[in-house]
Amino acid sequence: MLKKRIIFALLYQDGFFCLSRNFRLQKVGDINWLLKSYNFEEISGAIDELVILNLSTNAFDHRDFILCVEKIQKNFFIPITLGGNVRKVKDADRLFSFGADKIVLNTLFFENSDIAAEIVSQYGSQAVIASVDYKKNELSDYTNYMTHNREQKLSELELINHLQKVQVLGCGEILARSVERDGTGNGLDLAFLDFVPDNEITVPLIIAGGIGKSDHMIAGLQNSRINAVCTANLLNFMNKSLLQARRSIESKGLPVAKILD
């Protein structure tokens, strides 16, 4: 039986690992702080995948980011997803050559979908996650948002149209993130699934935005349409918290992979 997944995400910007709150990044600590607060060899036993996004303002400065990626992924063996600032096929090539199993694309699906399709044809659908950020509009309908130059700009595309588009272009997974819940720790926005008909998402769905404790992960994983939950909450899951969260998810009888020591 296919198991549900718990994904941990790290947001990197200009030398610091950050907390995102409604898409505004707050610096928390550098790589030394991160490695002191998280023993990745140990917590890799609590998560199924790790995502590391480079949101640096200088898109060409990959060197420090890659040094961090190397330091983080020592001695554990789970899938790594990298992303951030992918504008050309060459950017994707670079992330894959640094050891990414998958990459995350967001803006590219708005600005240059031909390149997104090109990346899919070279690396396969399974290697591309479409990150789709959404926000309720005033009519309490859902309208799609994109992040662009770190400013939020309302896209002209409706959420559903955009979900269709990224799947037609061949993404292998969708990472849906609520802009309003992002970094609040108030729980996931599961109501958006009522707005998106079941058959509109035919690839695995990862949901993010709002996870502050294990109960929020449980609520997400209990939903039959959700394949994985993702949190980037850098402060709420320090030390042993991720291991404890996995234990409570297991104790609810949710199907997650059995990980042996």
Partner: protein
């Protein structure tokens, strides 16, 4: 025996190399046909599109080198994910180039259904159906990490030693004559227990 990781140009070579080094091996990574044809323990990792990769390997004469190496009855190979498909006769992914033909069969897209989304991504359990060298010392129904859209079809080949259920039975491990091996899942992405697959392969 020193393992050789075939540099297919697309796969995540770094993680396979890291896994082998963690186990205490000193793997060579090469795309040089002369080096590959002399190596006794080949590992063929795989990410990407079947047609893209097999064409690339043929252009670089890597396919010939692999077949040349395996002329020696003491030489062996382990294909991972797409690397397993490359060992097959053919695949419907992308076009009409043939595979290495080391394992009889074709690869087809997984049939989607309501609760089997494509790609098949995540940890899934494997069930041993025959004596398996690769699974030695690994608990029954253990979870391994899968990430693929294509698989052997029909699901069961005469050399399948373990299967995984995903709307259909998928060949998750194939072992032929104790020297042609393949896993549909990624041992290098399946936590530390997954690495046991590599040490089992290398100690056959």
């Amino acid at each position: 025996m020193q393992p050789l990781i075939v540099d297919t140009g697309f796969a995540n070579i770094i993680s396979v190399k890291k896994a082998l080094e963690f186990l205490g091996y000193f793997p060579i990574v090469s795309k040089d046909p002369r080096v590959i044809s002399r190596s006794g323990s080949l590992i063929l990792p795989g990410v990407g599109n079947f047609q893209h990769v097999i064409k690339h390997l043929k252009d670089l004469h890597i396919t010939d080198a692999i077949l040349e190496s395996l002329q020696n009855p003491n030489h062996k190979i382990l294909g991972i994910c797409l690397g397993l498909h490359l060992l097959a006769d053919s695949s419907e992914e992308g076009g009409s180039e043939f595979g290495l033909g080391l394992i009889q069969g074709n690869c087809k897209k997984i049939t989607p259904s309501y609760d089997t989304k494509i790609p098949h991504i995540g940890f899934n359990s494997i069930q041993k159906i025959r004596e398996s060298k690769l699974l030695s010392g690994i608990p029954e129904m253990h979870d391994f990490y899968f990430i693929h859209s294509y698989c052997f079809s029909p699901g069961l080949t005469p050399s399948t030693t373990a299967i995984t259920e995903y709307g259909q039975s998928i060949s998750s491990i194939i072992e032929f004559e104790d020297r042609i091996f393949g896993t549909q899942f990624h041992p290098e992405k399946s936590q530390k227990t997954g690495l046991k697959i590599f040490s089992n392969f290398l100690s056959v």
